[in-house]
């Protein structure tokens, strides 16, 4: 029998149910040593009492109260994926059928695009006409926007400076709009952080 009584750390090892090679002699010691066995039993009483303590439950509205203060942010790619998933059928067979249908439609559209691309003359004429139309629309929209923002007189001055002046005015307008949007977003984020 080992006559050295257990050290506090060794009693902790036994309380923690450690299984290392040094534990077996400690267990053997408490089988023979009444004093150490009593100390371990006393410590075990406390540990058992602690481990029997229940978990308390908060009120049944706890989760709702927390969620009321947690803004749930859904990233755009998740929203897009969910939208697709909502319309997809649940059964595997139906999904395969939908997939086959979509693949067929995509093939037909691809073939149609390839066929159009081979018709060079038609494409050149059609794209030229479409380009003129788009340019006209963009020019008119830009003129309307600048005229509305700067006023007719100021717009007339800008127009006299030529393409460079109109371009600079448009770039300035876009930069001002982007700056405003960024400022508003920063303000909203700061407000959200403050609430949180």
């Amino acid at each position: 029998m080992n006559h050295r009584h257990l050290l506090p750390d060794e009693i902790d090892l036994l309380l923690d149910d450690e299984v290392g090679f040094g534990v077996a002699p400690l267990k053997a010691h408490i089988r023979d040593c009444m004093e150490c066995r009593t100390r371990v039993d006393e410590a075990r009483f406390v540990v058992d009492a602690l481990e029997d303590l229940p978990h308390f439950a908060p009120s049944h509205t706890f989760a709702d109260q927390v969620m009321a203060q947690v803004p749930v942010f859904v990233p755009w790619h998740v929203t897009a994926r969910d939208t697709v998933l909502r319309w997809l059928p649940q059964s595997r067979a139906a999904r395969i059928a939908v997939g086959a249908l979509a693949a067929s439609a995509a093939s037909i559209i691809t073939l149609a695009i390839l066929w159009i691309a081979t018709q060079t003359d038609v494409v050149t004429v059609a794209s030229g006409a479409a380009g003129d139309e788009v340019r006209g629309l963009v020019y008119e929209a830009g003129r309307q926007v600048l005229s509305t923002v700067f006023g007719d007189q100021m717009f007339a001055i800008i127009q006299r400076t030529g393409t460079v002046g109109v371009g600079a005015a448009l770039i300035g307008l876009v930069a001002a709009a982007a700056g405003s949007i960024a400022g508003l977003r920063a303000l909203a984020a700061a407000s959200s952080r403050h609430r949180a």
Partner: protein, 209 residues
């Protein structure tokens, strides 16, 4: 628009539920609250000894964690993060206010019988007889009072170790303490609790003998 099929979250590990919460799934947030509301509330309740206050602090804990769920890194345990915030919230509160020792029979701030009932500990959940209930209540009262008398640092360590079953390493990571300090705190807490419970143990021993 047809609804999405419901998610089966019950059997998912924490890291997967967190990933769903990061995708903005409301049900994943609620599942995380369901899993940890009791341990977190219990830890804080035993630290501050006031049900209403503990509920407010537990809410603060979850709000802090869930509002920053996008910062969660899966190499750490979610429970460790939650308990770390819960412990910090409780310790911060205790530093601001001197803790009063209370009886298991209700908060000292309770003014009416209803308030006393509402703030009392329920430690006799599944006892079979009136005698068992009485003994359990006596031991429950004694141990709750003994825990309340510990230093807050000892209290959080001993609760995490024995009520929530955390390893020493987890507790050290959770509370940002060196492993040796955690072992020392738990050893001292056990020692103080053993001394505080001497009278209960001797009383039980007399009954047995």
């Amino acid at each position: 628009m047809p609804p999405l099929p419901p998610l089966d979250l019950l059997n998912l590990p924490d890291a997967d539920v967190v990933a769903l919460a990061q995708q903005g799934r409301d049900s994943a947030f609620r599942e995380l609250i369901r899993r940890y509301e009791r341990p977190v509330f219990s830890l804080i309740y035993r630290m501050v000894r006031d049900r209403e206050l503990a509920e407010d602090l537990a809410q603060d804990t979850f709000i802090k964690v869930l509002n920053h769920i996008d910062r969660y890194r899966p190499e750490f345990k979610l429970s460790s993060w939650l308990f770390k915030i819960a412990n910090n919230v409780a310790i911060d509160h205790l530093r601001r206010r001197q803790l009063e020792t209370v009886s298991i029979d209700g908060s000292p701030h309770a003014q009416t019988a209803d308030a006393i009932e509402a703030t009392s500990f329920d430690v006799v959940g599944q006892q079979e007889s009136a005698l068992d209930e009485l003994e359990a209540r006596e031991l429950g009262t004694a141990i709750e009072q003994a825990i309340a008398s510990l230093r807050p640092e000892y209290r959080s360590c001993i609760m995490l170790r024995h009520v929530d079953g955390r390893s020493y390493e987890e507790i050290a990571a959770t509370l940002d303490l060196p492993l040796g300090t955690v072992k020392t705190y738990i050893h001292r807490a056990r020692h103080e609790l053993r001394r505080a419970l001497d009278h209960v143990r001797e009383g039980g021993g007399d009954d047995d003998g």
